[in-house]
Subunit: 471 residues, 2 copies
């Protein structure tokens, strides 16, 4: 593709995306295709000869769009948001256009230095502890996801505790409400299911730090090595906040590494009034949160911070001859390949930099505050409703609620809403009860969308109740 | 950013990239900044208020570009190429614009189905064994890198062999010339250094399959469990091809999983005359190669294929309540989150689809053939030169060569060339000797660039020899 052909095709794609931004709310939010339907519209073999770009773009509409679930829709309330703002899309585009590899400082110094710099900005922006800044012993790096951040933290902790030589005696801890990435990470790192204890939670689904202390003490007494605690600042299930300071105090008596996953809620800290999400972080070893969820930066962009970067590098560094270079050997630079699982890496700092500059600190605060206010309003409607109850506190922008009619009714409400195409929400199970999750954080979502969603939920619930005289 | 603002800013970014495509060869290939120089041009704090997009784009030129090492330059001959073609850049842009999460089929069916379909196309395009197609027990998936592909293969093998319960008795094998990702993957998976044997190589730096068989037999006799062999089809150091068929035969007697890393050279198989790169793949458990290296698709895009997808899913699947959905429970769909380390995933199949359609099979063959022909010509110049010798065979597009003057001279040649900004190449060590690597695979590279590089190499070598009377 020549530069001029790229100019032409690029203009068409930019226009396609701009139209999509205008129309994302017009599609059924949850794709309605059946399994195999997308593939059925694709030829069985790759084309032998080049095809015009216009044909490819036409197939975006014909083949791909029916199979898209619209995460950018203003009516997307499922899981957690995955925002792709204009500036972040353009940062991603520039990253692809430059096509540099950031595995070593030398392979593109700007890719490394802008990342270090922007991660230091994030420390200031979110009011994180100084220990996570790059001017001390710590530092930040962009990971693809909170799953990978958890894994590298776990690996650093494992090596610090003695590594493979003591692997069978290691014990890790998390809460029964933690994200599945903890279980997956532990398994990847070679721990058996018995080596990861799921500590119980209190009435608000936050980890019971006293119970944690008891099980860690018992394990230590049994000759085991408590080495790692994964806490959560805002669980996926119900947005519960583990008592990080208490957990850190308990873990400190065992020399265990504490990692905090603030994937969703960490972004709230851009607004000073929500900095309770950072409670206790000044005492933990590592922390992450995802601008690709609630800070308007398209996936993938997880900000991972570590208090002792050497522990991370010790766990992940291997230097073959073909990667040796003067800058690395000088010790004056960061080689981010030693801070992550893969070797190669994209220039992901660009999109985060673009977002920070486009919105500014006050712009980011504005959007986060708006989402929290809408969520609080929604929670108020739930509380005032005779049909529904809140199932958990609403500290930020996730409302956990359920219909009084029981699991089958809640599942029916969820399915009917999602099949309507008018909105998309998902569920969890709290205390054995199916619970609806209303997650409000898409950039396009306005008050009208939240209000309409609540009206639809009420109407669907009443229609189901109407067909069942016991409700 | 409104859709109209996006139209305007998008047009500017497209123009910026088109100009970069035109001018990539005008920059010093290897960035000349000193450590800290990029950061010194950035303000210490994030901006409080929004900044105009024009200012951000101006800083791309002012701050970022001096710190870029130009992987898209026609004079980039270092490491391996990382091609970003026009269609792939636009596929990445569309992926960012749609902003969907492909973790589950249900979260965007097209994201999963297009990926499965395009990976099946790759099986046909590259003449890979049918066992890697999705219509049998196997299938393909896009990973971020060959490092991650190696890791998931190793984890599947580990679980198939008994998992954490037998971890200390497991033994893995690779060659002493394998990529560092094998050592890193084994460490991540909880194996000690002793649990990964580096098997010796023959004169062409390919794994000695007989030696492999002997060490596997000895380990088995010692009560250990040989469970995994990582072979390479085209090593990073010298482009050596391990004897995969022989390795697979040896491994089969132990029931060990064989993974083949064809990261760089696998793309050659688009041309039927280069399908020796696939030798033996019909007997292995998993295989990967990187379109983000030599198939004109911007990073990240590693195609990973597995013969028994259930083994992979068994190793990596964890299903929490909040991810349960009807499509998953029907068993009729693929959820790619169970095929990889992270949970979230971008719509990476789009860029590969765009590349395949833009170039067509014949277009891809054309470029690969051209790079191989240029490399063969370069190797001929080395052979004909009194100053230089070939250090290894040149099966495809990597020329390993060295000056007869010894390590210090070769290092000086490399440094002087790289500091000149006129080209960029890197080195390896073969049989204890510093060896220069000329890797020819950037899309922009034409015969004139290769010819000029060789002239520069000769001139620099002569000038160094001139300053040293012993040469």
């Amino acid at each position: 593709m020549t530069p001029d052909e790229f100019r032409q095709a690029g203009a068409e794609v930019v226009e396609w995306i701009a139209r999509y931004m205008e129309q994302a709310g017009d599609y059924p939010v949850l794709s309605t295709v059946d399994p195999g339907e997308v593939r059925a519209n694709l030829p069985p073999s790759p084309p032998r000869w080049p095809e015009p770009f216009a044909d490819v773009l036409a197939d975006m509409d014909r083949v791909v769009m029916p199979g898209i679930t619209h995460w950018q829709s203003p009516d997307f309330f499922a899981f957690f948001p995955a925002n792709a703002s204009g500036p972040s899309i353009l940062g991603e585009l520039l990253s692809a256009g430059l096509g540099v590899q950031g595995m070593l400082w030398a392979t593109s110094p700007a890719c490394t230095e802008l990342e270090t710099h922007v991660l230091d900005w994030m420390v200031e922006l979110c009011g994180l502890p100084d220990r996570f800044g790059s001017d001390g012993a710590g530092g930040g790096v962009i990971q693809d996801s909170a799953s990978s951040a958890l894994l590298v933290a776990l690996l650093a902790a494992r090596e610090r505790a003695g590594g493979a030589a003591v692997l069978g005696r290691l014990r890790a801890y998390t809460s029964s409400h933690a994200h599945s990435s903890v279980e997956k990470g532990a398994r990847i790192a070679g721990l058996s299911a018995e080596q990861l204890t799921m500590v119980g939670v209190g009435p608000d689904y936050a980890m019971d730090a006293t119970a944690l202390g008891m099980v860690m003490d018992a394990d230590r007494a049994a000759g085991l090595i408590p080495f790692f605690v994964a806490a959560t600042a805002g669980t996926t299930s119900s947005n519960a906040f583990d008592p990080v300071a208490d957990i850190a105090a308990v873990a400190a008596t065992h020399g265990a590494w504490v990692h905090v996953d603030g994937a969703m809620s960490g972004s709230a800290a851009v607004a000073p009034e929500f900095r309770f999400v950072n409670d206790g972080l000044d005492r933990v070893d590592s922390y992450c949160f995802n601008p690709h969820k609630w800070l308007f930066t398209n996936f993938d962009c997880d900000c991972f911070f570590v208090a002792d970067r050497q522990a991370l590098i010790d766990a992940l560094s291997i230097l073959p001859e073909y990667l040796r270079n003067r800058a690395t050997e000088s010790g004056a630079v960061i080689d981010y390949r030693d801070w992550q699982i893969p070797l190669g890496r994209r220039f992901r700092a660009l999109k985060l930099w673009f977002v920070l500059r486009h919105y500014g600190v006050e712009g980011l605060r504005h959007h986060v505050r708006e989402h929290v206010a809408l969520s609080q309003e929604f929670a108020g409607w739930v509380e005032a409703s005779p049909q529904f109850v809140l199932a958990a506190p609403t500290p930020l922008n996730l409302v956990s609620f359920r219909h009084r009619g029981g699991d089958a009714v809640n599942e029916a409400i969820r399915d009917r809403l999602n099949e309507s195409g008018e909105l998309y929400l998902t569920h969890t199970v709290l205390d054995g009860h199916v619970t609806l999750r209303m997650s409000i954080g898409a950039l396009a979502t306005q008050r009208e969308h939240v209000e309409r969603a609540w009206r639809r939920i009420e109407v669907v619930a009443r229609s189901l109740a109407g067909s069942d005289p016991t409700l």
